[in-house]
Amino acid sequence: MFQLIWDGLFVGSFYALVALGYSMVYGIIKLLNFAHGDLYMLGSFIAFVVIGGLTGLMGIGSIPILLLVLLISMLATGGIGVLIERVAYRPLRNSPRLSALITAVGVSFTIEYAVRQIFGADPEVFPLQLSGQPMQILGARITMPQVILMAVAAVLMILLQRYVMHSREGRAMRAIALDQNAALLMGVNVNKVISRTFFIGSALAGAAGVMAAAYYGSIDFLMGFVIGLKAFTAAVIGGIGNLYGAMVGGIVLGLLESFGTNWFGGEWRDVFAFGFLILFLVFKPTGLLGERVVERV
């Protein structure tokens, strides 16, 4: 029982990190950034390349190196996120929302197949892998890497929460989410804030990608596809556009999958997960913690 809860929490914390980016972007410019899962994938590949260069220089591989690589990858994926927004989304900001959505799908495929061209279709083995002997706690197997990765995820989420809720820039983000034009008239630099939002969201996805690569040990160009969909589901379950919602949604989805697999078998895992997506969209489109959806003119 505790094993199921632990597994759910662990997987859920990855979903939550990726869902946060989805949710922030949706909250601010009402765009479903379908390329978000691919930033997760890019994060892992950037780390793959960086580690290749780093271990050549230092000859060691350990937790400090991983944290350094994590930071570099976050900066890089954040930058790529800003670039994507500037090139593919900003020109379409006043177009019908469907155009931006289609562009997002295009961006997703572009990234995936560009990575395939560079690294090939076969999975790469991630050179830095965390491993540890499992400890038995309350009948569940818990490993040190799991604890470390969940701690990193928690720290990132707390930092984000502090930033959005208690800083000047965070207030600007929330203002744009409420009313973009009014924020503009109040002197908020809308483009800058949106860029910053993309940077943070993409960096979080990149961080999740690096952590997943270090834990599971293999990366491939399509690895962001499923987790992108799952993160979207998590964001909807929690209430899309709401930060706490994304975190709660990620954890809830992880738990649902863990228990669903246990009760119905692995082949029903995705049916179960995406079935909940449909149920939530039909019966509670605002999600667990969602705000009222205010249609703006």
Partner: protein, 389 residues
């Protein structure tokens, strides 16, 4: 080797399109092929080979081409078939049903007298009626879906059913009683898992499935451990297989694991980590390095390939050419009916991978599956047990 079935990721619409195109093209194939007898009775006999030379499976095209070329060179040096030389004509099927139908038409127009290609089952299936209508006998080296059986073609590689037999033999030999079979819900691995379950009489069999596009299988691993198995079978491909084995071991499963041919690749060890691979074996058809006189064969192959090492299905394609040439020798020509009855009449034809006799449905008797283990260089699989007797 790791995807004889085309992957169904986002290609449903494409698949439908391909099927339509296949229907349309095969409908007009009779007209094209019935056109005229291009065989003048002298000049070389052309053998056509469809294989993937582009796309994700492109590596296998070259492995197969050089294998076929080596066989043809050897046969020509020995005086050819019925007094005529052989010539290899290759076309790219890209592991895609649409491309393979077009490529098969090109081979027919080029006047080939035999087909010795076929790697992806999905791309091979629609070409069978085209070759059959044109009166071209087919010996398929690699593709081995059960759907290809009984369609008039002859198969060098063992089928899923035969691989399942080998797996069950090994499970019984290990004395396991409580087996969990894990597949990835894709066509070929699921077939294989179904076949193993069907044949595993007297064993307790449970099934588990994972989504190969994901990285975390902890839920499935928990479910497997809950059944406390003394044997685990994985029928999917090595990408997910490596992760699954790693996570099974990390969760405390120390028992034997058997993987299907889709996971028999050195990358399996690289992904799972060498420590996790103790007690892992695979079912596979023989590769040149497992053969007794394999070293000489590899040397000969390298002369043809320009120094490149042979890969999976090099040897099966080599044998497909040898088999078809033998049948044409027996038939004293390229007449379709005579060649087919000669293929059916082959009894224990000696090949490097063992003696070959075709069953009535065109599949290879016994299938030639052996047990391999990942103890070679860098986790490469090497022969462990020939499953004889």
């Amino acid at each position: 080797m790791f995807s004889r079935t085309t992957r169904m990721k986002r290609t449903l619409a494409l698949g439908a399109l391909a099927a339509t195109a296949a229907l349309a093209l095969s409908a007009c194939s009779g007209g094209l092929a019935g056109g005229g007898e291009t065989d003048s009775g002298d000049g070389p006999i052309k053998f056509g080979m469809l294989a993937p030379f582009s796309g994700s499976e492109a590596a296998f095209g070259d492995y197969m081409k050089f294998g076929a070329q080596l066989a043809i060179d050897e046969i020509n040096a020995d005086g050819g078939v019925a007094g005529r030389d052989l010539e290899l004509v290759t076309e790219d099927d890209a592991c895609d049903a649409t491309a393979s139908v077009a490529a098969a038409q090109k081979l027919v127009t080029a006047g080939v007298k035999g087909s010795v290609g076929g790697y992806c089952s999905g791309a091979t299936l629609p070409t069978l009626p085209i070759f059959a209508d044109a009166g071209i006998p087919m010996v398929i080296p690699a593709a081995n879906s059960n759907e290809l059986v009984g369609q008039g073609a002859f198969m060098i590689n063992g089928t899923g059913t035969q691989q399942a037999e080998a797996a069950v033999t090994w499970i019984n030999k290990e004395g396991a009683k409580n087996v969990v079979i894990i597949d990835d819900n894709e066509a070929y691995p699921k077939d294989l898992a179904d076949s193993i379950e069907k044949q595993a009489e007297g064993l307790t069999v449970a099934r588990e499935h994972v989504n190969p596009d994901e990285k975390d299988f902890s839920a499935a691993v928990n479910s497997v451990l809950g059944k406390s198995p003394d044997f685990v079978v994985w029928t999917g491909y090595y990408q997910a297989g490596g992760l699954l084995i790693k996570q099974l071991r990390a969760a405390g499963y120390a028992g034997p694991i058997l993987v299907g041919d889709g996971s028999v690749d050195a990358q399996l060890s690289a992904i799972a980590g060498a420590d996790a691979m103790t007690g892992v074996v695979g079912t596979f058809t023989r590769t040149p390095d497992m053969l007794e006189n394999g070293a000489q064969w590899i040397e000969d192959y390298k002369k043809v390939s320009g120094g490149k090492e042979p890969g999976p299905y090099s040897i099966q394609t080599y044998e497909a050419v040898k088999t078809l040439a033998e049948a044409m020798n027996v038939a004293e020509g390229t007449d379709y009916d005579k060649v087919v009855s000669a293929l059916k009449g082959l009894k224990d034809f000696p090949l490097l991978t063992g003696n070959l006799t075709f069953a009535d449905d065109g599949s290879r008797q016994g299938g030639g599956f052996v047990i391999v283990e990942p103890t070679g260089d860098g986790g490469a699989f090497v022969l462990k047990d020939e499953l004889k007797g």
